[in-house]
C-alpha cells in the first residue's frame, strides 16, 4: 500500500516552467475578462457609439493565424531535425508577428479616420484599450521570438530536450496570443 502511494505521486512529466506559463496565461485571461466584462456592462448601459471594425483588423487576424501556423511548422522542423525548415520558418513567424502589430497600428489609424475617437465615447475607448493591451502581449511574444532566434542562430544546431522545452514555451505563448486575438475579435463583433 505504501509503495502504491509513492508511485502515485511520481512526477507525471509536466515541466514546471510550462506549468508556470499556463498559470500566467490564466491570469492574463482574467485581466481580459475584466475588460470584456466591463465592456458588456457599459454596452448594456447605453450611450454606446456603434461602429464597424476597421478592415485592417481582419487582415491582421489572417496574419497572426498564419504566423501561428508557421511557428508550429518551424517547431515540427526542429523536432524532425530539419535545420533549414526550423530556422527559416522561425524568422518568417517573427516577420508575420511584427507585421501583425504594424497592421494593428494601421487599424487604429483607420478607426480614427472613421471618426471613432479615443476619448469621445466609451465604446471607442474600450476598443483601443483592448486591442492595445492585446498588442502589448503580442510584443511580449515577439521578444520571446527574438530570444528564440538568437538561440537558433548562435547555438550549434542540436536537438535537446531542454531546447525543445524552451521552444514549446514560446510556441504555446504564441498560440495563446493568437487565440486570444480571435476571441477578442469575435467578442467585439458580437457585442455591438
Amino acid at each position: 500500500m505504501e509503495t502504491i502511494a509513492i508511485e502515485e505521486t511520481k512526477k507525471k512529466g509536466i515541466n514546471p516552467q510550462k506549468f508556470a506559463l499556463w498559470v500566467g496565461m490564466a491570469s492574463i485571461i482574467m485581466m481580459f475578462t475584466g475588460w470584456t466584462s466591463a465592456y458588456i456592462v457599459k454596452n448594456a448601459a447605453g450611450n454606446w457609439l456603434e461602429f464597424g471594425l476597421p478592415s485592417m483588423f481582419y487582415a491582421s487576424t489572417i496574419t497572426i493565424v498564419l504566423s501561428s501556423i508557421v511557428l508550429h511548422l518551424s517547431y515540427i522542423g526542429y523536432k524532425k531535425q530539419r535545420e533549414f525548415m526550423y530556422k527559416g520558418l522561425l524568422v518568417l513567424a517573427f516577420i508575420l508577428g511584427v507585421s501583425f502589430v504594424v497592421m494593428q497600428y494601421q487599424g487604429w489609424m483607420q478607426l480614427f479616420g472613421m471618426g471613432v475617437d479615443f476619448k469621445a465615447n466609451v465604446a471607442g475607448s474600450f476598443t483601443y484599450l483592448i486591442t492595445a493591451a492585446h498588442a502589448v502581449h503580442v510584443l511580449g511574444g515577439i521578444a520571446a521570438l527574438i530570444v528564440a532566434m538568437i538561440h537558433a542562430f548562435t547555438l550549434k544546431f542540436r536537438y535537446t530536450e531542454k531546447r525543445k522545452n524552451r521552444f514549446e514555451l514560446v510556441l504555446q505563448y504564441w498560440h495563446f496570443v493568437d487565440i486570444l486575438w480571435i476571441y477578442l475579435l469575435l467578442f467585439m463583433l458580437n457585442t455591438k
Binding site: A5, I6, P16, F19, V23, G24, T33, N47, V122, S125
Partner: protein
C-alpha cells in the same frame, strides 16, 4: 515514547529511505549564496526571500500602525494640541498663533488611506503570504527550492520597489493619495479633485501596479511548486493544511489581481489620456467637465472583484498557520482534515461571487443584491466548519500554552467575534443602517485585520527557530499576546456600539454633529487602547530583532516534536534544504498520539499492519 514501535533517527531515515535527486552531484558551488550580495540582498534562496518579505512587512506594519495612532489622536482628542508632532509631520500640523496644533484635514484622509493600503497590501498580503508561502512551501513539501528561484527573487524586488514608490509619495508637498484605500473615482480619476489626487494618486497607482506584478510572480511560483515539486510520497492529501492554504491563496491571487490591474489601467487612462470609463457629469468648482458616459460603479465592480477575494488572500494563510500550530501544540491530529481542505476550497470558490456585498448602498440593483446576500451568508458554512474543527482539535488535547499556541487560540476567538458581525453586514437590508459606520470598521478590523495578525504572530513564534535557528523570548511573547488580545478587543468592541448608533466612518471630526458628539468618551477610550496596543507591538519588534542575535539557541532539529518535513532539515539552514537525500513521505502530516507514539514524523515508514493516513 515508543513502546511498541521502533524509534527512528531522522538522519538514518533520510539516508536509507530518502530520495537522491542528484542535487549535490554537480557542484555549482552554491552559486546562490556565494557572496554577501547574492546571499543577503539579491538572494534566490526561498528562506532568505521569506525573511526579506517578513522584515519589510514588519517595517511597513510599524509605519501603518503609527499612522493609525495619529488619526486616532485626532478622533479621540480633537481639542488637544498636536503641535508636538510638528517635527515629524511638518506642514500637516497647522499651529495657530496661540500654539495649538491641529492635524490638517486633508492629511487625516491621507493617513487613513495609507493605513488601509499599507496594511492590506504590504503587510497582510506580502508580509503574511509572502513570508510563509516562501518559507514553508519548499520546506514542508520536501523541495530544494521554488520552481523558479529567479522569479521568486523578482517577486520580492517588485514588492520592494512598490514600497519605495509608496514611501516616496508620503513626502510629496501635496501629500500621498487621500481618497481611501479603495481609490474610488472620481477622487482617484481626476488629478484636480483633491490635493492627494494629483501626484500622490499617480504614485499610488504605480506602486500598486508594481505590487500586482509581485503578487503574480509569487503566486505563479507557489502554484507551480505545489503541483510539480512535491517529494516522493507527498500526495496532495498528505500535505499539511498550511500548504493547502497557501496553494489556494496563490490561485485566488493569480485569478483576482489581474482584474484589479485591468481596473487600474482604465483608471490610468481616465487620469492621463482623457477617457471617461469611470467619469460622468462631474462638476469641479462649479465647472462642468466634458467627461461623460462612464460610471464610477464600474470601477467598484472591478475593484471588489479583487477586493473581496483579497480578504481571503489575507485570512486563508492565517487559517493554515493556525491549523498547523493548533495541532502541533495540542498534540492531536487536526480534527476533520478533509473537511478543512474542502472548506478552504469552498471559501475560495465563494470568494469570487460575493464581491457586490461591498456595494449594496452604491446603487446596484436590489435584485442583484439578493444573489450576493445568499452567497455571502453561505460563506458562514465553511467558516463555521473550520471554527468547529479548531475547537474540536483543542478538545481533550495535551495543550502546551506557549506563545504560538496562545496566538492561534486568540485567532479562533477573534475570527468568531469578527465573523459573526459579518452575518449582520452580509444582509443588504441591515446594511442600509450599518454601512459606512464604525460597525463596518469594527467588523473587518477584527475578522481580517487583527485575526490575520494573530495568525501571522502564531506563525512567526512557531517557525522562528526555522528562520533564525533561535527562539523568541517566551515572557515577552506572552506580554505581547495578552496586551494585544485585550487591547484589540478594547479598541474594536466599543466601535460596534458607536456604529450601531449610526456614527459614520471617515469623518475628521464630530464637533458639529449633535447626534454623534456624546461618544467622545468612548472615542477617547479607543484611542488610549490603540496607543497602548501600539507600544505592546514594539515589545514584539524588540523581541524579534533581539532574538535574531541573542535568542535562545536551537539545540535539536525538532523542538516542537512536530511531524512535518521542515523539522527534518539541519538546524543551520543550508541552500537546498537537505544536506543529502530528499525525504520520502510515508504518511499524512498529523500523526500525533498515534498507537501510543507521541508523534510520528512524515518520513517514518508505516509499521507492519499500521493503517496509514486519515
Amino acid at each position: 515514547m515508543a513502546n511498541i514501535a521502533t524509534t527512528y533517527d531522522d538522519d538514518v531515515l533520510l539516508e536509507e529511505h530518502g530520495y537522491n535527486d542528484h542535487f549535490h552531484d554537480h557542484h555549482h558551488g552554491d552559486k546562490y549564496q556565494s557572496g554577501f550580495i547574492s546571499h543577503y540582498i539579491f538572494s534566490m534562496d526561498h528562506k532568505v526571500i521569506a525573511r526579506q518579505f517578513l522584515i519589510t512587512g514588519i517595517i511597513w506594519a510599524i509605519i501603518g500602525a503609527a499612522m493609525s495612532v495619529v488619526f486616532r489622536l485626532q478622533l479621540g482628542f480633537p481639542e488637544e494640541s498636536l503641535a508636538w508632532l510638528k517635527p515629524v509631520l511638518g506642514k500637516w500640523i497647522v499651529v495657530d498663533p496661540t500654539g495649538v496644533g491641529t492635524l490638517a484635514p486633508e492629511f487625516y484622509y491621507a493617513l487613513v488611506t495609507m493605513h488601509g493600503t499599507i496594511l492590506v497590501f504590504f503587510v497582510l498580503t506580502a508580509g503574511l503570504s509572502g513570508t510563509f508561502s516562501n518559507l514553508l512551501i519548499p520546506l514542508q513539501l520536501g523541495a530544494r527550492d521554488m520552481a523558479s528561484p529567479f522569479l521568486n527573487m523578482l517577486s520580492y524586488w517588485f514588492f520592494f520597489l512598490a514600497g519605495i514608490v509608496m514611501f516616496y509619495s508620503l513626502f510629496l508637498s501635496t501629500g500621498p493619495f487621500s481618497g481611501g484605500w479603495t481609490a474610488y473615482p472620481p477622487l482617484s480619476a481626476l488629478p484636480q479633485a483633491s490635493t492627494g489626487s494629483g501626484t500622490g494618486m499617480t504614485l499610488w497607482l504605480v506602486s500598486l501596479t508594481l505590487f500586482v506584478v509581485s503578487v503574480l510572480l509569487g503566486g505563479i511560483n507557489y502554484v507551480t511548486t505545489v503541483l510539480n515539486l512535491r517529494t516522493k510520497g507527498m500526495s496532495l492529501w498528505r500535505m499539511p493544511l498550511t500548504i493547502w492554504a497557501f496553494f489556494v491563496t496563490a490561485i485566488i491571487g493569480v485569478l483576482s489581481f489581474p482584474v484589479l490591474a485591468s481596473g487600474f489601467f482604465m483608471l490610468m487612462m481616465d487620469r492621463g489620456l482623457g477617457t471617461s470609463f469611470f467619469l460622468s457629469e462631474i462638476f469641479i468648482e462649479g465647472q462642468a467637465l466634458d467627461r461623460v458616459g462612464g460610471s464610477p460603479v464600474l470601477y467598484q465592480h472591478l475593484f471588489w472583484f479583487l477586493g473581496h477575494p483579497e480578504v481571503y488572500i489575507i485570512i486563508l494563510p492565517a487559517m493554515g498557520l493556525v491549523s498547523e500550530v493548533l495541532a502541533v501544540h495540542a498534540r492531536k491530529p487536526i480534527f476533520g482534515y478533509r473537511a478543512m481542505v474542502y472548506s478552504i476550497l469552498a471559501i475560495a470558490f465563494l470568494s469570487f461571487i460575493v464581491w457586490a456585498h461591498h456595494m449594496f448602498m452604491s446603487g446596484v440593483n436590489p435584485f442583484i443584491s439578493n444573489f450576493f446576500v445568499v452567497f455571502t451568508l453561505i460563506i458562514a458554512v465553511p467558516s463555521a466548519v473550520k471554527v468547529f474543527n479548531w475547537i474540536t482539535t483543542l478538545y481533550g488535547g495535551n495543550i502546551r500554552l506557549n506563545t504560538p499556541m496562545l496566538f492561534a487560540i486568540g485567532f479562533v476567538s477573534l475570527f468568531i467575534s469578527g465573523g459573526l458581525t459579518g452575518v449582520f453586514l452580509g444582509n443588504s437590508t441591515i446594511d442600509i443602517q450599518m454601512h459606512d459606520t464604525y460597525f463596518v470598521v469594527a467588523h473587518f478590523h477584527i475578522v481580517m485585520g487583527v485575526a490575520a495578525f494573530f495568525g501571522m504572530f502564531a506563525g512567526i513564534y512557531h517557525w522562528y527557530p526555522k528562520m533564525y535557528s533561535r527562539f523568541m523570548n517566551e515572557t515577552l511573547g506572552k506580554i505581547h499576546f495578552w496586551g494585544t488580545l485585550i487591547g484589540a478587543y478594547a479598541i474594536f468592541w466599543p466601535m460596534h456600539f458607536i456604529g450601531m448608533a449610526g456614527v459614520p466612518r471617515r469623518y475628521y471630526s464630530f464637533d458639529t454633529f449633535d447626534a454623534f458628539k456624546h461618544f467622545s468618551g468612548m472615542n477617547q477610550f479607543i484611542t488610549v487602547a490603540a496607543i497602548l496596543v501600539f507600544f505592546v507591538q514594539l515589545v514584539f519588534v524588540i523581541n524579534f530583532f533581539y532574538s535574531i542575535w541573542k535568542g535562545k539557541k536551537m539545540t535539536t532539529k525538532n523542538p516542537w516534536d512536530a511531524t512535518t518535513l521542515e523539522w527534518t532539515t539541519p538546524i543551520e539552514p543550508i541552500h537546498g534544504n537537505w544536506p543529502g537525500n530528499l525525504p520520502t513521505v510515508h504518511r499524512w502530516a498529523y500523526d500525533y498520539n498515534k498507537d501510543e507514539r507521541e508523534f510520528v514524523s512524515q518520513i517514518v515508514p508505516l509499521e507492519e499492519g499500521e493503517v496509514g493516513d486519515h
